[in-house]
């Protein structure tokens, strides 16, 4: 049974000082699954990932990663997992090739030269192999880090915001590559702040203040929140947005370009409010499917309230 799970952790807790950074986190990632990990800044995503690959010891709770215990068998885990840190963590005073070569040596890879050459080719940096890594642009560093953490063909990838600062083209290539890997049975846990990336994941988890709020496929996550959303097309959306806030049934208003999304849990109340609005000239209101982004913004707001409530 556990063979089907790449990550299986239960009740993970981690505090720093008196701050509960990860709070009773349980998470299951199946083999061959791309699992998206979302949450606002400082919600504990990086900390959770570090717990899962044995870089931090949990205060309580535990579980397995690729079938190995995350506390006792971290050496086994490290051999089989590719971890990409959020902050660039390769050696800036080594060249691109030297970095890849060093990584290959640390994983005791046979046929090192060929592997490194192939990686450079794939990366499109073969001609710049002798460039110092520190002189690469941010996006290129990110792409190098990605390539380097996949060099030893890990069975599980833990990617902490791998595409931050990467251009759309490279991002698309990267996600195509991820899906190819997943099809080959490689599991991926990827944290991101991008909605389009969240939509490309097989499963999602949303974490805030160290607590896992929802977990499941995109549709499940949306359905579970039972939100109703209307799209308002009009001029002067930001004034409208302010005006709508606090109206009966309106829980959140978000401007997406030329459209305003109005969301609430009480469908009837929200419908009544927007019906009154729809009578204004030059304004079009339509009911739409709630998107992931609406859901996440909603979750974030709710958890802030919970957190503040729990504290007082």
């Amino acid at each position: 049974m556990s063979d089907a799970l790449a990550i299986d952790v239960h009740g993970l807790n981690k505090r720093f000082g008196d701050k509960q950074v990860v709070d009773d986190l349980s998470l299951q990632v199946r083999r061959g699954e791309i699992f998206g990990f979302l949450g606002p800044n400082g919600s504990g995503k990086t900390t959770s990932i570090r717990l899962m690959c044995g870089l931090l010891t949990p205060d309580s709770g535990g579980g397995t990663c690729l079938g190995y215990d995350i506390v006792r068998e971290s050496a086994q885990i490290k051999r089989r997992v590719g971890y990409m840190t959020q902050r660039f963590s390769y050696w800036e005073d080594l060249t691109i090739r030297e970095n890849l070569d060093f990584v290959a040596r640390l994983y005791e890879m046979p046929d090192r030269r060929r592997v490194v050459d192939a990686a450079l080719e794939r990366l499109g940096l073969a001609t710049r192999a002798k460039q110092l890594t520190g002189s690469l642009s941010g996006g290129w560093k990110q792409r190098l880090a990605l390539t380097a953490c996949m060099l030893h063909q890990p069975q599980l990838l833990l990617l902490d915001e791998p595409t931050a600062g990467v251009d759309p083209n490279a991002r698309r290539d990267f996600w195509e590559e991820l899906h190819r890997l997943a099809a080959d049975g490689i599991s991926v846990l990827v944290s991101t702040h991008y909605m389009d990336e969240a939509e490309r994941c097989h499963k999602l988890a949303y974490i805030a203040y160290g607590k896992l709020l929802v977990q499941g496929t995109g549709e499940q996550v949306i359905a579970e929140q039972r939100l109703t959303t209307y799209a308002v097309h009009s001029e002067g959306l930001s004034e409208l947005s302010t005006a709508l806030r606090g109206q009966p049934g309106v829980e959140q208003t978000v401007v997406f370009g030329s459209v305003l999304h109005v969301t609430g849990t009480d469908a009837a109340l929200l419908a009544a409010t927007l019906e009154r609005l729809a009578s204004r000239p030059g304004l079009r209101v339509e009911r739409i499917d709630t998107g992931l982004e609406d859901v996440f913004i909603h979750l974030m707001k709710r958890s802030t309230d919970n957190y503040a409530g729990g504290r007082s």
């Binding site: 870089l55 010891t57 840190t85 390769y90 070569d101 040596r105």
Partner: protein, 379 residues
């Protein structure tokens, strides 16, 4: 746990990486060459002091009132501490070579008889003059000793002997550094000081640098083991230490004209062991320190007792007991004895052994501690 599964490939990877990084680090490179030269220039001058209570052995073939009085007078001068009585000259030479005593007083068999006959006999005072400061003041009191003994003991019928010329003489024999040239002692001593300072500092930064640059998280997420990282990181510095040692040896020989009595191979072997000892200290501090600043502070904390108590600045024998206790756990203390013993006295392996094994033990103990201190997680 730490030694099982040691991978030569991973270790070699770390070694190569460190060499590459070092090659690109201009500042460190400048330090490697610059520090020995600056220090040599600065410490070319002697540091003055007035050590007392220097261990002295007595070889006496003549036991009379006068010889007892002479020995007592030496003891009373507070410069000499009579620590042992030896059977013959060979034993005296050994004690000097190993640094057990600073002086050997040799009283010939017919001393009293010849004194009473007014023949102005001599006693021989052999001094380990490797460190001229250690012996200088003591030796300058010797002539006063003679007259005070004469005045006290040669009375009554013997009084005529006390007047006029001194009734006997203390012939001083400076061994190893007969001209009492301070540089002969300081320059080989500097080798240990420079190696301590640069090596502990550079390796002290080795782990904290990884931590501050964020690369530690990466390193920790790979299968590389603590012992591979640590030993791999010190290899380049062994080479650096040997380069520095060579610079100092060349300067000692050709700039300061220090005579090399002992074997160069012995010097390099002693240096190698000492370098290893310092590197383990540095790497241990590095794993303990939270950041580079802390590592620097720890280096200074380690460096001060080394330079003050190891016998480099003040003669070891002249220090109070508690200071000697502290000094006896510092590698520099042993290295100072080794290097001076080899360069100036030409000591052989048997003489060196008492100072070699403590260095080896020190290195092993500290390396074990360093691997213990290595943080395997980011907690």
């Amino acid at each position: 746990m730490t030694l099982s599964g040691f991978s030569f490939a991973r270790w070699w990877g770390v070694v190569l990486k460190e060499f590459l990084q070092l090659r690109r680090d201009r500042v460190t490179f400048a330090m490697i060459v610059g520090i020995p030269i600056v220090q040599l220039a600065l410490f070319g001058f002697a540091i003055n002091s007035d050590p007392r209570h220097l261990p002295t052995a007595v070889i006496s073939a003549d036991h009379s009132e006068f010889t007892r009085s002479l020995v007592a007078a030496m003891q009373n001068s507070s410069y000499f501490d009579i620590t042992e009585t030896l059977p013959d000259e060979q034993a005296g030479r050994d004690a000097l070579a190993r640094g057990r005593v600073q002086f050997v007083l040799n009283i010939p068999a017919d001393f009293t008889r010849r004194l009473l006959r007014g023949e102005r006999p001599a006693v021989l005072l052999e001094a380990d003059a490797t460190d001229p400061q250690a012996t200088g003041m003591a030796l300058s009191t010797v002539s006063q000793l003679v007259s005070s003994v004469a005045q006290k003991d040669l009375r009554g019928p013997l009084a005529p002997l006390a007047g006029g010329e001194p009734p006997f003489e203390i012939r001083v024999h400076r061994l190893y550094n007969p001209e009492g040239i301070t540089q002969y002692n300081i320059v080989p001593g500097l080798m240990g000081v420079i190696l301590t300072m640069t090596l502990v500092m550079m390796t002290g930064l080795a782990m904290t640098r990884e931590r501050e640059r964020g690369t530690m998280e990466n390193l920790l997420s790979t299968p590389v083991r603590p012992v591979e990282v640590m030993s791999g990181k010190i290899v380049p510095y062994i080479v650096i230490g040997l380069i520095q040692a060579s610079i100092i040896l060349l300067a000692a020989r050709w700039v300061f004209g220090v005579p090399f009595v002992g074997s160069v191979i012995a010097i390099y072997l002693a240096a190698l062991l000492f370098i290893a000892a310092n590197l383990t200290v540095g790497i241990a501090m590095s794993s303990l320190a939270k950041n580079q600043l802390q590592a620097m502070q720890m280096t200074m904390f380690y460096f001060l007792p080394n330079i003050l108590l190891s016998g480099f600045m003040f003669p070891f024998a002249g220090m109070p007991q508690w200071a000697q206790w502290i000094a006896s756990v510092l590698p520099l203390t042993y290295f100072n004895r080794l290097i001076r013993g080899i360069v100036l006295k030409g000591n052989g392996w048997l003489d060196l052994w008492p100072d070699i094994w403590p260095l080896a033990v020190f290195t092993l103990v500290v390396m074990t501690m360093a691997v213990r201190f290595y943080r395997r997680t980011l907690d």
